[in-house]
Symmetry: D2
Subunit: 167 residues, 4 copies
């Protein structure tokens, strides 16, 4: 628990940041809501926000994951939260887990956009903030109130929940 060390937040998109477009009836990206969210919840942990991209994670390609990896390696902070779509979060976790040493990285997302009612975004972000401050190093995914190491987690497509691969 470091308390005063700054946390880098790399925003990559995903449901957490999606918005409803009343003209098309589609979900789209405007600008990230992270800054508003962290203000609303009165977060006083030090953090730096950085927008890497705003993408549905189904649209992410290997170049995108390489870019996220590069930002994780290059930033001066050793504690990093990556906001990310849930569909390929595990895949990005694998790229980071295999290539980043000596840093604590937590990937987090939401099943329901922050701007909709009954969203899981704030709770999930809270989990990520605590996890990234407590773990010494490693790459983790926080979803559904649980914390998973990057190499023991999958998204169950039927239930929409994250679960361990093996006990």
């Amino acid at each position: 628990m470091t308390g005063e060390e700054s946390i880098r937040i790399l925003m990559t998109g995903g449901t957490i940041d999606k918005e409803y477009d009343p003209l098309t009836g589609e979900l789209t990206f405007g600008k990230s809501h992270l800054s508003n969210i962290l203000n609303q919840v009165r977060c006083k942990a030090r953090f730096v926000l950085e927008e890497v991209m705003l993408k549905d994670s189904l649209q992410m390609r290997s170049e995108d994951r390489e870019e996220i990896l590069r930002r994780c390696v290059d930033c001066p902070e050793s504690r990093i939260i990556v906001t990310h779509g849930t569909d390929t979060m595990v895949e990005t976790g694998r790229v980071l887990g295999n290539n980043v040493k000596g840093k604590t990285i937590v990937l987090v997302g939401a099943m329901i956009p922050y701007t909709f009612g009954a969203s899981d975004a704030l709770f999930n972000l809270g989990c990520a903030f605590a996890a990234v401050q407590v773990f010494h190093q490693g790459v983790y995914i926080t979803m559904n109130g649980k914390i998973f190491p990057w190499d023991n987690v999958r998204k169950n497509k039927e239930s929409g929940e994250f679960e361990k691969l093996k006990d």
Copy 2:
């Protein structure tokens, strides 16, 4: 990180559970919202909810803190979240910190009720869920996106924020 061990959630009241009474214009307690909250945020970590009391923490007396202590000691779980009003959260933390051994306890609350707009309740609860699963033992307070050991924290009455007593 245990994952499958059950978390005991002791509800004691506080702003997180307060409601607006339209007839009196006052804030009151109805029944706890914790069950609805954890359903909304799709929490799949195992937990047991137990209502100890629903009080404004300014109304808590030493008997109340003794009761909370007794429930922490008596419950079979070693990982415990205590929802609590912010005004005397530090005081209850001291009672628990001085008397509970071998368990992980996280106290958490909110500055704005869950049922109001722009609440910090979900984020704070997320922090508590992650912290209680990661720490081996000890008594902690999670507020404002930070995690404090029970003996190095105070609530700043002017700002409404929790802060360290000493670096």
Copy 3:
């Protein structure tokens, strides 16, 4: 202004009742939210809820409009609110306007679902409740805080707003 005469509310679907499905990322219909809405807003005007269908109005065909017409004619109430998708609301208004005599009918919908943040559903419904009680007879559309007779309104597809055809 009748006050105690009952209002028939015919629910036909539209954005007002849509929900977000976190598994597919699509908007779908579950069950209508009208009953919850009218309870939330403390509505004490007498009303009878009747679900005719729950459809995106782009999916409505002439049989559907005939069915809505039939329900308007057959119900004992002379004051009727029809909740409806915005895309073909004007078309249904024309069928009702050309065929119903001696009743007051108000069509209403929303651009943003009730369950999302920042919805226009409650405001629009309020407009409809007042309009249906005040007008003696005729078919009207209430959207954007305005009230239009059925034969002098169109939905502007670019702006998503309803406007008069002619002054």
Copy 4:
């Protein structure tokens, strides 16, 4: 139904505009939310916002009601919405009803603040917008989905609902 004539909105305070102060746990007034509300609900009826005062209506004195009356008489618009606390709304309605001729005035408020969950503010405002555009003249109160002439309404203190004095 005028459509393009501008509506004067006189803001006087009341629950609709109250906010929760997390430091004191009290309800207070910041600045009026009306502008944000009418933007959120996509209101395209023309209106002019004017803040007369922001008061709990229990704190209003006869000078305050005289001031509201003066603003109603002096403004160029003939269609006026007055946002007002519910506790003495009927009293202000009486002052306006007895003294304003040739204008349509609708008083409206809420039992639950706009910024809280499950508020009735948007629905009530919708009722007021429709009523003020449809009635030719007179002073009305819109609450609970009903529209009352100023001289046949009271607030039932037990239920918190507005009701007719006599049938």
